[in-house]
């Protein structure tokens, strides 16, 4: 078990299997809000679903409408259970705030591997 502490963006507790992208992620055009599947050809998560996962990626990119896509995913029940960024930007962080999805940044993402069991509790990230 390994515990890390980051910067709190949206308070809350969640856990799940880590889905890790090494690349910036776009929500508008990057994820289908009805299924939670990544549809961005440039993403290393292409074709995978983020639903219920602890979604780990460096930071968001793409259209500023992305915040509403996160809210939409929440309504459809295909949102990630938590979001971990290296350094967050406004699109994803506001999306997490209005959708009530726990979120932390300033985490060394190289310490999290795909499939790890990850718990997010406030600003803490617990792996294993």
């Amino acid at each position: 078990m390994r515990e890390m502490s980051g910067r709190l963006i949206k308070n809350g507790r969640a856990e799940g299997e880590a889905l890790v992208s090494k690349k910036p992620l776009s929500f508008l055009g990057g994820i289908d809000p009805k299924t939670g599947k990544v549809i961005d050809r440039e993403s290393d998560l292409y074709g995978q679903s983020v639903a219920g996962k602890v979604l780990v990626f460096p930071y968001g990119k793409g259209s500023t409408v992305g915040s509403y896509i996160i809210l939409w995913m929440k309504k459809e029940g295909v949102n990630p259970s938590a979001i971990i960024n290296e350094s967050s930007e406004p699109i994803v962080c506001v999306g997490a705030i209005i959708s009530d999805i726990p979120m932390v940044d300033k985490i060394d993402l190289s310490l999290i591997e795909n499939g790890d069991h990850v718990r997010v509790d406030g600003e803490k990230v617990i792996i294993g």
Partner: protein, 415 residues
Amino acid sequence: MIIPDGRELPKSDQMKLTKEEQSIYDGEQGEVLQKAMEILVALGKIYDAEELVPIRSVQIAGVSYKNLGEAGIEYLEWWVEHNANVQAFSTLNPAGIDLGRWKELGFKEDFSKNQHHIVDLYEKMGIVPTCTCTPYEIGNLPKFGDHLGWSESSAVSFANSYIGARTNREGGPSALAAALVGKTPCYGYHLDDVRKANAVFNVSADISSDADFGALGVLAGRETKKGVPYFKGLPAMRTFNFKQLGASMAASGSVALYHVHGQSPESRAGDMIAEDHEEFDIEGLDEAYEYLNTGGDDVDFVSMGCPHASMEEIMIIANMLKGRKVRSPLWITTSQATSCQATAYGYKDIIEGTGAKLISDTCMVVSPIEDFGYDTVATNSAKGCYYMQSWCNVRTRYGSMRQCIDAALTGRWQK
């Protein structure tokens, strides 16, 4: 404030709030302002903002029903039901349909009804329903140094780079929150140091067609990612070249500000290259053209006006089309205001006389284009290619205005 599991929310002590702002944050001025302030303070805290700064104007994204969905409508309805009203001059991003001509153009009735409802909700909050991604063309024109709360990645890039105004890339909800409070947290591109370039691009590639700027943006956006690019070696640019370059980098990376040596205002006012920067050479654009051209040679549809076409672009297109007939449908998207101008000057009649359409309020990125069943769409927008390929599931052809017009006239893509 206590959250459901009993712990306290982080306080806003890192940011100095005025008495007035603190009273809003504490809920003494009602739920609407409090909720808006909560978003602003959360952002300010995350980005170590020291204070809020008053803003001159706001551009609000999150309008198309395609992107908002039912969740977004519920979110907006909450604000309207609680009598939210903006305090800063605010304009609106494109909708998913031409609000006036949706029936004639084949948009579905259900979608259109929802779309009108969304625009009405924004209007009720005091936002001008401009429905354009180029607000600077039609009256939301800030000046050098103004602080703004803009969303719409291409407009943000234009305001920062071409005008030298100051805005971060707001999301739809944070722009709305900023509009309701009339302020935004002062961090990021509101600050002098952050506006300096950390990626310098020495461009020796041939930049001769209008499409080359969008293609260059694909390569530079990928390299720069979140930073600020500085271009050396570019030829004299037209206003719409800035628009295409910025829109492209906002889609391929998340570039919100760039400088062009000797041409953009901040690069002319002082040295905008940070001491700590990386250098890149761009010797050719083939890789970008390959990425943007996934489509076949038969073109089902041609889309221009992403970001929305300016009067200058509409004039150029009208002159190219004059007296001809299109074989593939051609849509040129712009704002209603610019379309009214184009009507007054006769360009709309010229364009529509060829069978092409001058469409208002929407664009290919936010309209439900996948409903029309196209395989290959041609466009002069690199940003459009990004969104159409993934979000709309169509293949694309990318090239200059001339190539797009030729594709519309012949139904074939010519290299």
